[in-house]
């Protein structure tokens, strides 16, 4: 990438390399688009299908008690619900691509602004959880790998195993009991926007973020440890050690580069859980986030909101995975072939 900024007067050999790199990037972009677009289309189609298959219609909600069959048919026709499924999906997708997520059947307000109001909460928690997850997960995984076979390794592995057996709501409630009721360090619920009070915002999102991150910490630590331990056993690492490279150089240049791939992949897989999946955490900590909004709307039968939540989550997950894959491509050039 840095080569691009250099002046034109390059030796011919690096010019070749530049054009090869460019072609590589272009290929990567094309392949990525060829994968992301159909995935987006199919995921949104499933989302749309879900609403359609529910058989719910705003007619029931709008007309209430005195609705006759004719009334329902009239409202359905007004909303275009009498057209074939694929046509309706097309119309709906067209609106989505223009940023129009429709109107809630429950409160008659546009869906998009309601979603984005809550997205701040969820992105705060998920982002914070991701930071905690990455920092602690990498630190613990690294520590376990470099101290493999010792008690440190065993404690970390045991912790990671324990965490993954716990239902998330138990984790959240235990955190509340410890940090809110017993130690009284942190509040147990609510949300304040960082634009209002940064300190309070941090205080409020800390516990939910920890609750949400534990799974990621455990997973990342486990995967990183496995990857690194395996990489340490590889012949080239042995070779590097034999050649007398410093331990730090061996770890960062050889081991981490080759052993961290799986852990990064896990991070990509974690995104859907972090972004849309904080439902349990949000409901325990009394935060009106994005995931909770989606699940409450599902219970209310508010199909447009549910679809909106899923579509936004899909977009976020796709973007996040593109970033992870780009990182992977830089870290492990071989994996560029994959996407």
């Amino acid at each position: 990438m840095t080569a691009l900024a250099r002046p034109v007067a390059l030796p011919s050999r690096s010019r070749v390399r530049v054009s090869r790199t460019l072609r590589g990037i272009a290929l990567w972009v094309i392949r990525t688009i060829a994968i992301v677009v159909p995935v987006f289309l199919f995921a949104t189609f499933v989302t749309y299908l879900l609403g359609a298959a529910s058989g719910l219609s705003p007619a029931g909600l709008k007309l209430g008690d005195a609705a006759t069959t004719a009334d329902v048919a009239r409202v359905n026709a007004q909303l275009g619900l009498d057209q074939p499924l694929i046509v309706r999906y097309g119309t709906w997708l067209g609106q989505i691509l223009h940023g129009n997520l429709g109107t809630s059947w429950f409160n008659d307000l546009p869906v998009a602004p309601q979603l984005f109001e809550r997205l701040g909460i969820s992105v705060s928690i998920a982002g914070y959880a991701l930071i905690i997850g990455v920092v602690f997960g990498f630190a613990l995984g690294l520590l376990a790998a470099v101290r493999r076979g010792t008690w440190v390794d065993r404690v970390i592995t045991a912790f990671a195993t324990l965490i993954s057996t716990l239902p998330p709501f138990v984790v959240a409630i235990v955190l509340i009991i410890v940090f809110c009721i017993t130690l009284r360090w942190l509040p147990s619920g609510g949300y304040v926007s960082p634009t209002v009070n940064v300190g309070e915002w941090l205080t409020l999102i800390t516990l939910p973020a920890i609750a949400l991150s534990l799974d990621t910490v455990a997973d990342l630590a486990r995967q990183l440890r496995t990857g690194l331990v395996a990489a340490y056993d590889d012949h080239y690492v042995t070779g590097a050690i034999v050649r007398g490279f410093s331990r730090r150089r061996v770890l960062f240049v050889h081991v981490l580069r080759n052993g961290a791939g799986p852990a990064l992949s896990v991070l990509g897989l974690r995104a859907p859980a972090l972004i849309g999946g904080a439902v349990v955490t949000e409901s325990i900590f009394g935060m009106e986030g994005f995931g909770r909004f989606g699940s409450e709307s599902a219970l209310r039968g508010d199909v447009p909101v549910v679809q909106g939540v899923l579509v936004v989550a899909i977009v976020l997950v796709l973007v996040f995975n593109l970033v992870v894959n780009a990182l992977l491509a830089r870290l492990l050039p071989a994996s560029r072939r994959g996407i």
Binding site: L162, A230, G259, V279, L310
Partner: protein, 298 residues
């Protein structure tokens, strides 16, 4: 492959725990000291005693009896979800290696799309919009776990299909079905078994989360997740209440995951998976990765 896994200490312990739980869940309804639905209004939220080893719940039912009686339903519901995931994941996973590029490409994109969906929100939406019941919830969970089965099956099938003996068999004129039965299944089965164990564990946790949110519950029939969610509502009156179902869930989930680990270690499964993924699996000896579920908190 199971025999070898059971010989390792981890595998043996895990298998023993799983066996005990399965036996208990078969015998549970028979050995339960009380009727799990019998209420005793005079003794609600009682602490453990000689009469009630684990105390009583909020309407005076014997906790031990409920946990025992609830085990078949808890295990079966998780097994049902895994069964659906198995059916939807394994076959396309195998076929994706043989049916040519078009099927491969389409099935890969469908699986990517399913992984993209936010797990718990989608499960809730599906359950709530299609009628709030245990069956709907299990179906939703099954569909969402299916990608894990697809991916491990495909990865294992790919690596085996590229091996020389498979090629030799094919050159010798063996039918694809014969190759599948004799050579491939033996390679794919351990991966699928690992995923099954991991998915059972994840299924139990997910079902208890859904129950906690009031999705797919049908009282008074007890399930571990249901008992846990109910008891949490009485945390302040009976702090130990939620402890027992939590421990049971932790132990069985731990045992299932432990067994999966033992299986993987002893059958030398390799390869890792990622979203929006690769077209050709690149087995790496160095990256023995659990490709199964990364969705428990979804």
């Amino acid at each position: 492959m199971f025999r070898r896994a059971i010989r390792s200490p981890l595998g043996a312990t895990s298998a023993a725990i799983i066996a005990v739980v399965v036996v208990l869940s078969v015998l549970g309804p028979l050995i339960a000291p009380y009727d799990p639905l019998a209420q005793d209004a005079a003794h609600i939220l009682a602490s453990p005693s000689a009469a009630h080893w684990l105390g009583t719940d909020y309407v005076g039912r014997d906790v031990l009896s409920r946990l025992l009686d609830g085990s078949p339903l808890s295990l079966l519901s998780a097994a049902e979800a895994v069964g659906i995931a198995f059916a939807l994941g394994v076959t396309p996973g195998l076929l994706s290696v043989y049916l040519g590029r078009v099927f491969e490409w389409i099935s890969l994109r469908v699986i990517d799309a399913l992984i993209t969906l936010p797990f718990l929100v989608f499960a809730i939406a599906m359950t709530a919009l299609l009628g709030n019941g245990l069956q709907q919830a299990m179906f939703a969970v099954g569909i969402l776990i299916a990608p894990a089965f697809y991916r491990v099956t495909r990865a294992a099938a790919l690596s085996a299909a590229g091996s020389q003996y498979v090629e030799a068999a094919r050159l010798a004129g063996a039918s694809p079905l014969w190759v599948l039965r004799t050579h491939l299944w033996g390679k794919v089965a351990p991966s699928v078994a690992v995923t099954t164990a991991n998915s059972m564990a994840a299924g139990l946790v997910i079902v208890s989360s859904l129950t906690f949110l009031g999705i797919g519950v049908q009282p008074p029939a007890p399930t571990w997740g249901g008992i846990l969610a109910d008891d949490l509502g009485y945390l302040f009156q009976q702090p130990f209440g939620p402890l027992y179902p939590t421990i049971i869930i932790m132990v069985i989930v731990g045992a299932l995951n432990g067994f999966a680990d033992a299986l993987r270690d002893t059958s030398g499964i390799t390869g890792h998976v990622r979203l929006l993924g690769r077209r050709r699996s690149r087995p790496r000896r160095s990256a023995a990765i659990n490709p199964a579920l990364e969705v428990t908190n979804g």
